[in-house]
Amino acid sequence: MNFFDQVPALQIAVPLIGAPVCVLLRNGRAAWAVTQFCSVICTLLSCMLVAATRDGTVIRYELGSWSAPSGIEYYVDIVNASVLLVVSFISAIVCLYAYRGAEKEIQQDKHYLFYTGWLLCITGLLGIVITGDAFNAFVFLEISSLATYLLISLGPDRNSLTAAFRYLIMGSIGASFILIGVGFLFAATGSLNMADISARIPIADSPRTVLVAFSFLTVGLMIKAAIFPLHAWLANAYHYAPVTVTALLSGTATKVSLYLLLRFFFNVFGIQFSFGQMLLNYVLLPAAIAGFVLMSVVALYQSDLRRMLAYSSVAQIGYIVAGICLVSPLGISAGIVHIINHALIKSALFMATGCIVYRLGHAHIQSLGGMAKQMPITTAAFIASGLSLIGVPLTAGFISKFNLIAAMLEQGWWIGAALILASSLMATLYIGRVVEIMIFRKPRTSTGTLEVNEAPMQMLIPLWLLIALSIVFGIFGNETLSIASAGAERLLTGPLAPALVPESAYLSTGAGQ
């Protein structure tokens, strides 16, 4: 068998095997090495997938050689190949960072558990993205969610348990909604394979069942993606989780849910269904816009850096959703570009915050005075990624903002464009506020000096790698844009499967092992 044919399976198998190995090793350092190794391998694999699918090729991998509608298939096109790359790349970079970043935040004897959770989380996230089976996506969603609860609860703060618990409740509700949605879809179409479902929806006996399925899936995914009114779990989770975990999650978890949303809306239900008759624009779009306006204001008032960035994340997710809701090639590609860029930017910001927490033990904005003197490289990193978040030209953030506004105006959505600009103004303010304190304020300590050193190199190097990449993406934006527009084109073509699978070929129910 050709090695390349096995790449989609290896993408999942590698971290899946890595996780129990970590448990067996029972050693923090060794577990870290395994995680790092697996993440790098996954990154390379997803690079191969991106390279293979860039020309519009679709890779379909039949798990256990069971043919598609009954068996589970992995379905890779340019849309999810790029998301796979984002997830595994962020994991690889943040893992490099975690070598020192996690050492203080997580008890030494729990390190191997931490990395097990990490690998399981990555397995789940990659699985959600790669699978072409609706129920399998739910299974992977549960794997990643459970691992995420574990990772959050490992936080040093007492509150991290509460935060994890709240996330557990909300996440479980979300997952149940998704499960219900998938169930209804199965009831309506008799299939769990996404491609098959998309072909069967138009001829489904009961359109109402499909509607209910659609509603449940939408709301479930809104929770998981932290879209505005259902975002409340995110702030606490990001705040109280170990910062390393936050850096990982902010770049991956919500992005994956957004991907799934994209997939269901465009390829499973179809554009006509999702955006035409469904009036989704009356729910999702207002939510997105309210999200990025209100949450930017909220971020402005936060006193803790992590919380500020968490709310800013909700706002940025609002951008992505707004782009998706435009249902135009430009809008969707702006959304996809922002999925990629925001993953880089926000992970970098949280990693910079992690450097601060590593040395200071906290991240109260008002107490960050004198930071530029004591931790110049970290401060510079924060500024660089902050500029990208604002969307200053030559940074990755600008590419997304520019395209998003262009897409809005293309549709004649004035107010939307103006609100995005207003929101980016607020981003200027909340980032500017922190930067001013870091550079120009005196420390609030009694001695007047901040007794900390620069963060260790092992943390700074991955951080700057990420920033360098986001600057490269900002200067040479064509590369990401072309991937994103290929993805948008793929999404807009509608159903995954070109032709309906004949009823007779369909074997029996059940999709899991």
């Binding site: 909300m170 509607l211 259902l230 409340a232 469904m278 909220v298 200053v392 030209p393 520019f402 103004l425």
Partner: protein, 565 residues
Amino acid sequence: MTLAQPAFLFLAAAAGCAFIRNAKLRALLLLAVPCISLLWVALLDSGTHATVQYAGLTLEMMRVDGLSRIFAIIFSIAAGLSALYAWHVRDLMQQIATLAYAGAAIGGVFAGDLLTLFLYWEVTAVASVFLIWARRTHGAFSTGMRYLLIQVLSGVLLLMGLLLHYQDSGSMAFTSMTLGSIGTWCIFIAFGIKCAFPLLHNWLQDSYPAATVTGTVVLSAFTTKMAVYALARGFPGTEILVYIGAVMTLFPIFFAEIENDLRRVLAYSLNNQLGFMVVGVGIGTPLAINGTAAHAFCHILYKALLFMSIGAVLFRTGTSKASELGGLYRTMPKTAIFCLIGAASISAVPLFSGFVSKSLILSAAGKEGYWLIWIALLIASAGVLSHSGIKIPYAAFFAKDCGKRPAEAPRHMLWAMGITASLCVLIGIFPGVLYSLLPNDVPYHPYTFGHILTQLQLLGFALLAFVFVMKTGLHPHEIRAVNVDSDWIYRKFLPKQIKRISPTIGILVSLPGKWLANAVAHSTAQLAKLSEPRGVLARGWSINSMVFILTVVMGLVLIFNFGKV
């Protein structure tokens, strides 16, 4: 190497600065880069130099012609002079910001398309705010925030405008536009904000006195002149600019007259001088555009000189307030002389630089028959003499003795002022050099007998009037006070109203029910309160409320979905 351009040199130096430990070395870099850039600009051939593909668009990164060249030259000179003036500064942040800011301004004038312009537009905004924050006080922080907000607002308006314009016209090129579509209006207002149009001007007077001693000198050169350049490039001959410019020349002189902080007086004066340039752009004839370019050139020099001299006073005495100063000529005579040269230049005394540039604009206005505007400019010229020509040197160096005996400005500051002053005088004596740099080939002779005569009459009798008001005690005394400008609306009035209205709204809507009242009152007026860490939006919601909201959303989704079936 086609991509290389002076702006990149500055930006690269700004980035490199961060890695130089030795502050002296950085100061040297700060000085060397503008010199190289000046040579570079002087040697550039006209035409388009660099085209790149970015975000699916073709960008013209480098367009050299007469208009952009003269602005790039003066920006390089200004960067060099302010670097010399700031030789003592050891603050890394300020040094980086200065380089990035100057580089972005130079890049902006070479921008051949609107997106490139926007790029540099934003960088100037972000880089320059550090020069304000570098004062490191609470006041400077809030001022800097306001400044940043307004600058970035200008940037986003430009972005919106250029996108709309792109959709209307299908072109990103930064050429002459006509007002009409919403896109061009957005661009126009974006330029107008940076150019400190009336009612959009507050950021200027707000921020320049707040910056550091050296920062103000740097700030005075770039942002506004870049906007003037943008107007001259984008909207030459747009008639509304003539009137906007006339208002700009007039109203700041009254504020300047009674302002106590001398650096703010200069900021008002800067605004007034911008008015002359805007009038020139509005007239739009080759002569007028020449006038605008020449006036920008001269103005950068003498305004920098004035800011330098007042900066030196601030540097040595710790204040730039007229009420605290006076009689400093005793110990700072050289600074006083340079200040006087700057004052003479800005007042357009013959043989000084202001004379040879301002008369271009006045002549253009005269030739085109704008008689009302011409009178406004004439009055404004008397006003310039009053606040910049007389008040600045008089209040700082003469007037009554304040008792302070500061040392003379440091040597490098004196050198910077000296060079700037000699440039002012040289341009005044040999205007041909400046005129040869101007974009349009229009012959003009400032030194005609009639012209000198009228100007001397104007200035002489204005001086007489000064003597008159001093003798009669009509001249406003220098007192410690602030004067409210239209920024009062957003710094005082609106915050107060919001505070006042919010309970009223709460009471009004309490009739239908308390819950609703709270919701409305909160959502309308107290968004800020909601967003505070303990506010409703920001605090961790309980699981109950999260689930409640979830139910509501689910209900909405279902209603919307089934409403259509």
